[in-house]
Amino acid sequence: MKKIRNKISLNLHKFMIMPAAVLFLIFFVLPLCQGAGISMTDWNGFSEEKNFVGFANFIRFFSDKRALHAIQVTVIFGLISPFLLNVAGLLLALLVDSKKKSRVLLRMVIYLPSIISPLIMGYLWTLILSPRTGVLDQILQRFEPSLSFDWMGVPDKALWLIIIVNVWQFVGGPMMVYLAGLQSIPKELYESATIDGAGKVQAFQNITWPLLYPSAKINIFNNIIGSMAVFDIIMAITLGGPGYATESLSIYIYRQSFNGFAGYATAIALIMFLIIAVPIGLTLGWMRNKEIEM
C-alpha cells in the first residue's frame, strides 16, 4: 500500500500537467495537424469540396513573386524592428533606472503607447503623417518644405516609416524587461568594480550587459515573434501598399485566404512558422552559453 502511495506521489505531477496538456493538444497541436492537412488541398475556405493536391501549394509558393516579396518585407521588418526595439529599450531602461524624481512619469509615458491597440495607433500615425492635412506635414511645410511629401506613398520609405512607428509604440515593453533586469543586479558588484578602478563603460561591459542576457533573451524572442507576424500596424498605415511594398507575409496569408485560396494560405502559414522558428532557434543557440548565474 505504501509503495503504491509513494508511486502515486512521485507521479502526481504528471497528472497535474494533464489539463494544460489537453488544452495545448486541442488548441495548438490539433489545429497544426489540421492545417498541415488543409495545406495539401485546394480548399477555397468555405466549400465542402477539398481536393488533395500534395505539395503543389508549397511548390507554388517558391515561384510566387508576390509571396517571395512578402518574405523579404517580413524578414526586413522582423530583424530590424527587434534590433531597434532592443537597443532603444536598453538605452531607455538605463535612462529611467536613475534616482531622478521624474523616472516614474518617464516610464509611464514611454510604456503608455504599448497598451494601445496597434490598429488605433496606426490610424493615429496616419493622421499625423498624412500629406497636406497631417500635423507633421504642416510643420514641415512651414520650416522645411523640401521634406514635405507623401511619406507613406513612397515604396522604399513606407516600410521604414512603419518600423519607426512600431519601435516608438512598443519600446516600452523591452524597456520594462531590461529595467527589471537592471534592478535585480546587486549594487555590491558595482561597488567592487569601482574599488577595482573600473569606469562606467567597463562596468557596463563586464557586469551590466552579461547579467542582462536573460532579459535580452526574453526581449529578442518576443520581439522577433511579434515582428515576424506583423499585421495590424501595416494594415492601419499603408494596407500593405503602395503596391505590395509593405505587404508582410501575414497580410499576404490573410488576402489569399479571403480570396478563395485557403489551402494555399495555410501552406504559406506553415512556411511562415518555419521562417519564424529559424531566427528564434539561432538566437537561442547563440545565447545559451552567454548567460551568467549570479
Binding site: R132, M152, G243, A245, N259
Partner: protein, 448 residues
C-alpha cells in the same frame, strides 16, 4: 511527500467540483425524469402550439456601412410587431471576408446582403428565381441579377446603383465646361480647372483603398470591348478566360490608352498628389467641400457627401465616364444594389422569407430608397432621389450601360487597384502595365 493538510484541502475542493457537476445533472434529471408522462395527444397538441409560438431568431448579416442605422431602426420596428420572429442585425465592414469566415466556422447567418461568385458556386445560397418578389421588379433587373453560370437568381436586389463621374457643376458652369465624352476632352476640362483653381484637385483618386481605383478598370478601359462585343459575349469570354477577346495587352489598346492617360494626368498634377495614401473618406470630403472638382464613384456616396455638406445637392451632378476609344460611347455602370441572399444551410428559411416580405413592403422600401440614394427596383415604390441622382438617371439614358465587372476570383478591385498603385509609384510603363495586367488576370483565372 504531500502534507496531509494539502491532501485534505485538495479532496474537499475536488468534492465541491464534483458535487457542482452532479447538481447540474440532477436538476436536468428532475426536469425531465420525474414529471408524470402526459397522454400522447395532449403532448402533440402542446408541441404544435409551441411550434406556432416558438421564438425564432433570424441572423441578418449586413456589409453596407451606409445603411447600418436604417437597418437597426427597421429591425427594431419589425421585432416590436413580430410575435415569434426576432431579427438580429450584424454589420461587418470587411463583409465578404467576415462572411467567408462565418461559413467556414459554421456560424451561418440566415440572410446576408452580400455574396461572392465562389459562394454561389459552392451552393451556399437558396435559389430565388421563382420568388414572388420578382413580380414587383422590372424583368430587366432580374436578368442582370442572374448568375452568369447557371442563369438562376440567388439574390433579390431592392435597388439599382449607378457608378459614374461625379463633378462639381458650379465649377464647370463658372468655367463654361461641359461633361467630357472622350479622354482628351476630360483632360482639357481638368486642365481648365487647374488653371482657374490651382489649390483644388481637378480629379481626386483615393488610392490607399485600392478597390476605389481598381473598380474603374471594369468601367473605363473594359467598357470598350464590352461595347464592341456586347455584354453577353464579353461575360462569356471572361468566364471562359478567353484572353484573345478581352485584349488586355493589345498594343495601343484600351488598357494601355487608359494607363497612358492616367500617367499624363499624374505628371501634370491633375490628380491629387497624395493619390497613394488618400482614403475613400478623403475623397468624399474633398468633393463635398469643393476641394476637388471630379471623382469617380458610386451614387451610394451621395448620402455621405450631403451629410458633410448639404449644399452639395445644388453643386454636384453626375455624367458618364469618358469613352476610352473613339468608336464607343461614354459608359456608366448600372447594376443591382442592396441585395438579399437566403443561405442554403439556414434552418429558418421560412422565417427569413417572412422578414424579407416585411422588409420589401412598399412603405419600408420608400424609406430605404431615400436613405440609400438609389432608385428602387420595385415598380410600386416611388421616392424622391434628389437632383444628383436625378442627373445620373438622366445620364444613363444616353450612355452605354455597363453591368457588374467580370473578373476571376482573387483579381477583383483590390488586386487591380494595387497594380495601379504600383503604376503611380513608378513601377510600370503603360505598355508594361498592360502586359502585367493580362498576366496577373490569367494567373488568377488559372488558379481558380
Amino acid at each position: 511527500m504531500i502534507p496531509m493538510k494539502k491532501r485534505v484541502c485538495a479532496g474537499i475542493l475536488a468534492g465541491i467540483m464534483f458535487l457542482g457537476l452532479t447538481a447540474c445533472g440532477q436538476k436536468e434529471s428532475n426536469e425531465t425524469g420525474t414529471d408524470t408522462p402526459k397522454p400522447v395527444q395532449e403532448q402533440e397538441e402542446k408541441n404544435s402550439e409551441a411550434a406556432k409560438t416558438e421564438q425564432v431568431t433570424i441572423k441578418f448579416f449586413n456589409g453596407n456601412v451606409e445603411m447600418v442605422d436604417w437597418y437597426n431602426e427597421a429591425i427594431d420596428r419589425f421585432n416590436a410587431q413580430s410575435d415569434n420572429i426576432k431579427v438580429e442585425h450584424e454589420f461587418q465592414k470587411e463583409g465578404t471576408s467576415a462572411l467567408q469566415t462565418k461559413f467556414a466556422a459554421g456560424d451561418i447567418p440566415d440572410i446576408t446582403t452580400m455574396g461572392t461568385q465562389q459562394m454561389i458556386d459552392a451552393g451556399k445560397f437558396v435559389d430565388l428565381t421563382e420568388a414572388k418578389w420578382w413580380d414587383r421588379i422590372d424583368p430587366s433587373i432580374k436578368e442582370i441579377s442572374a448568375d452568369v453560370k447557371t442563369g438562376k437568381n440567388f439574390y433579390i436586389p431592392t435597388n439599382t446603383m449607378i457608378t459614374a463621374t461625379i463633378y462639381n457643376q458650379k465649377i464647370f458652369e463658372e468655367l463654361n465646361l461641359q461633361p467630357a465624352a472622350t479622354l482628351d476632352e476630360f483632360t482639357e476640362n481638368l486642365r481648365a480647372v487647374k488653371a482657374a483653381y490651382p489649390d483644388k484637385d481637378p480629379l481626386y483618386f483615393s488610392g490607399k483603398e485600392a478597390w476605389t481605383i481598381g473598380m474603374l478598370f471594369g468601367y473605363l478601359p473594359d467598357a470598350v470591348e464590352r461595347q464592341r462585343l456586347g455584354e453577353l459575349e464579353y461575360s462569356r469570354a471572361a468566364l471562359e478566360g478567353d484572353i484573345s477577346k478581352l485584349k488586355f495587352s493589345e498594343p495601343g489598346g484600351p488598357l494601355e490608352t487608359y494607363i497612358t492617360w492616367l500617367g499624363v494626368l499624374w505628371e501634370e498634377g491633375l490628380i491629387n498628389s497624395n493619390v497613394l495614401t488618400a482614403t475613400y473618406d478623403d475623397a468624399i470630403n474633398a468633393i463635398a467641400k469643393g476641394d476637388a472638382a471630379v471623382i469617380f464613384q458610386g451614387m451610394f456616396t451621395i448620402g455621405n457627401i450631403l451629410s458633410i455638406n448639404p449644399e452639395a445637392e445644388e453643386e454636384l451632378r453626375v455624367c458618364a465616364f469618358p469613352a476610352v476609344a473613339e468608336d464607343v460611347k461614354p459608359a456608366l455602370n448600372q447594376g443591382p444594389d442592396s441585395t438579399y441572399y437566403i443561405t442554403a444551410d439556414s434552418p429558418h428559411q421560412e422565417e427569413a422569407r417572412i422578414f424579407l416580405d416585411w422588409l420589401f413592403e412598399a412603405e419600408n422600401q420608400a424609406s430605404f430608397t431615400t436613405t440609400r440614394n438609389a432608385p428602387s427596383a420595385f415598380s410600386d415604390v416611388t421616392s424622391d432621389i434628389g437632383a444628383i441622382y436625378g442627373s445620373a438617371v438622366e445620364a444613363s439614358k444616353t450612355a452605354a450601360i455597363i453591368g457588374p465587372a467580370r473578373e476571376p476570383a482573387g483579381f477583383g478591385g483590390d488586386a487591380t487597384g494595387v497594380m495601379l498603385q504600383e503604376f503611380f509609384a513608378g513601377q510600370y510603363t503603360p505598355e508594361e502595365f498592360a502586359v502585367a495586367y493580362e498576366e496577373a488576370w490569367k494567373a488568377a483565372f488559372d488558379a481558380q
